[in-house]
């Protein structure tokens, strides 16, 4: 079962400098949520708090029933961060602990198959292209079958063609695994193509200035009018004013079609 995620009053400061929050957010189990925002809006800090890489200054994060092991959470970084001395197969199985050898080999083969690299197991990271390396990073996060997957701008360093291919892969993986996914991105297209819910952060200090559920069909038609209108709407949040006051932030909890026929 995928995990729901609840964030209450989350705040983060570094040495007295308040960079994030308070953030309150409930994410449904099994959904893909995109968190978008400019650089410095605290989106990566938020994700690092969720992944346990940062300790929040205040507030509470509840993942699932609160009894979560690290193997239940997959984390994909902006860069592949593969261990250069390990083969692709060993990198994929890097987080698998307490598996028997056959179960481990099976989990590795399955994860590599899902990211479209079934024959790359024996290669070293230095032999991979950027897109392949990031797919291995995705496979490493998927191999332990996590119930929550956190993705920090995972495709931002890739060329546009590979990026779109990887986005399709991610949707396919979500269908297969059904894990809850939180995706940090500054790419509106990526957010709209993948996520059923889009949270907009702005800052510093990072706060939620928009919460949308664009009900676009899956897979998204990136040249449709609805897609374009949503993109304009999200972009407008950042171009109209540098930091909208909280009351100017608008939230869309209604079905998107009502606002955008």
């Amino acid at each position: 079962m995928p995990y729901p995620l609840r964030i209450n009053g989350l705040e983060k400061s570094y040495g007295g400098q308040h960079v994030l929050g308070p953030i309150d957010l409930d994410l449904e189990a099994g959904t893909i949520t995109a968190i978008i925002g400019r650089s410095g809006s605290g989106k990566t800090t938020l994700l690092r708090c969720l992944g346990g890489l940062e300790q929040p200054t205040a507030g509470r994060i509840t993942i699932g029933d609160g009894q979560v092991s690290p193997a239940d959470i997959g984390y994909v970084f902006q860069e592949p961060r593969l261990m250069p001395w390990l083969t692709v197969a060993k990198n994929t199985g890097f987080g698998l602990a307490g598996f028997t050898k056959p179960a481990r080999d099976l989990a590795i083969a399955e994860a590599l198959d899902l990211v479209g690299l079934p024959d790359a197991g024996a290669l070293l990271p230095k032999q991979l292209s950027g897109g392949m390396a990031q797919r291995v990073a995705l496979a490493r996060a998927l191999a332990p079958h996590p119930k929550l997957i956190l993705l920090d701008e995972p495709f931002s360093a890739l060329d546009p063609f590979t990026r779109e291919q990887m986005q399709d892969h991610l949707l396919h993986l979500h269908e297969h695994y059904g894990a809850t996914m939180v995706l940090i991105t500054h790419d509106m297209d990526e957010a709209l193509a993948l996520a059923l819910r889009i949270i907009v952060l702005d800052g510093p200090p990072g706060r939620i200035i928009g919460d949308f559920s664009p009900d676009l069909p899956r897979p998204a038609d990136r040249v449709s009018a609805a897609f374009f209108v949503w993109k304009r709407r999200l972009t407008a949040l950042f171009t109209r004013q540098s930091a909208p006051p909280p009351e100017a932030a608008f939230s869309d909890q209604q079905p998107a079609q009502e606002n955008f026929p």
Partner: protein, 258 residues
């Protein structure tokens, strides 16, 4: 028209300067510009080497020096690996031990000789210990900095995967520090040869250092040069072997081949 550069093997290029020096040496000796008591001709040195090989002196000297080097290197490398691993992986252990080790490093290594002779006698133990001291520091320093400077981004992978500190050390820090460790081992090996020569010069009845000393005492520079050549050959061969083994260990590195 295309020109294709013909590749000359690296080892052949490396032989050019020694060959020129050898020719100059032969020329200087043959012309009588330098007296043979100062610089004997290369032919005499080669004949001396052949005679040493034939009489068994060379094998005995190589065995004596080689075993001191082997045991000293193994001892120094083992201590450096254990202490370097501990200090690199734990800030608390580093705070406890590293200041003392750094202080000991500032003592010139040969200054230990009288103490080693007093404690361990004039035979093998003191010589092996001196070699071990020379070998220890480059390996220790490289390993500590190799572990301490592992990319934070790789360590974060271990954190999100919930690694314990032991698992982090074994699966991330030690493999990542391997290239620095290999550099340390090669540095330690070079110093080991230097220290084994020093130990044998200070008092030995066999070994290459003894031949050096004997050549000087008996006024036979061809013996000194023969021993120097053997030292150089041993140093080069062991470094080449270690470098080759090291290259295999760190073949995963994505670096331009030198």
């Amino acid at each position: 028209m295309t020109m294709r550069a013909r590749r000359v093997p690296g080892w052949l290029v490396g032989l050019i300067v020694p060959a020129v020096l050898l020719a100059a040496w032969q020329g200087a000796a043959a012309s009588g510009l330098v007296p043979p008591a100062i610089l004997p001709a290369p032919g005499l040195v080669i004949r001396t080497l052949a005679a040493m090989a034939q009489s068994g002196e060379m094998a005995q000297a190589l065995a004596a020096t080689g075993s001191r080097m082997l045991f000293g290197f193994a001892l120094g490398a083992a201590c450096a690996t254990v202490l370097g691993g501990l200090c690199g992986s734990s800030a608390a252990i580093r705070a406890l031990l590293d200041p003392l080790i750094q202080a000991l490093r500032s003592v010139p290594s040969l200054a230990w000789v009288p103490l080693f002779i007093l404690w361990l006698g004039i035979f093998e133990a003191s010589k092996i210990t001196l070699v071990a001291v020379g070998v220890f520091f480059p390996i220790y320093l490289n390993l500590v900095s190799g572990i301490a400077n592992v990319d934070r981004k790789l360590l974060e992978v271990g954190r999100v995967l919930g690694f314990s500190s032991w698992r982090r050390l074994v699966r991330i820090q030690l493999p990542a520090a391997l290239p620095a460790y290999v550099v340390g081992l090669r540095g330690g090996l070079g110093l080991g040869w230097m220290f084994v020569a020093a130990a044998e010069l200070l008092g030995a009845t066999n070994g290459l250092g003894f031949i050096l000393d004997d050549g000087e005492q008996t006024g036979r520079p061809e013996r000194v040069l023969a021993a120097l050549l053997l030292f150089g050959l041993c140093g080069k061969l062991t470094d080449w072997a270690l470098a080759a083994a090291g290259r295999r260990l760190v073949s995963w590195q994505d670096i331009a081949a030198a």
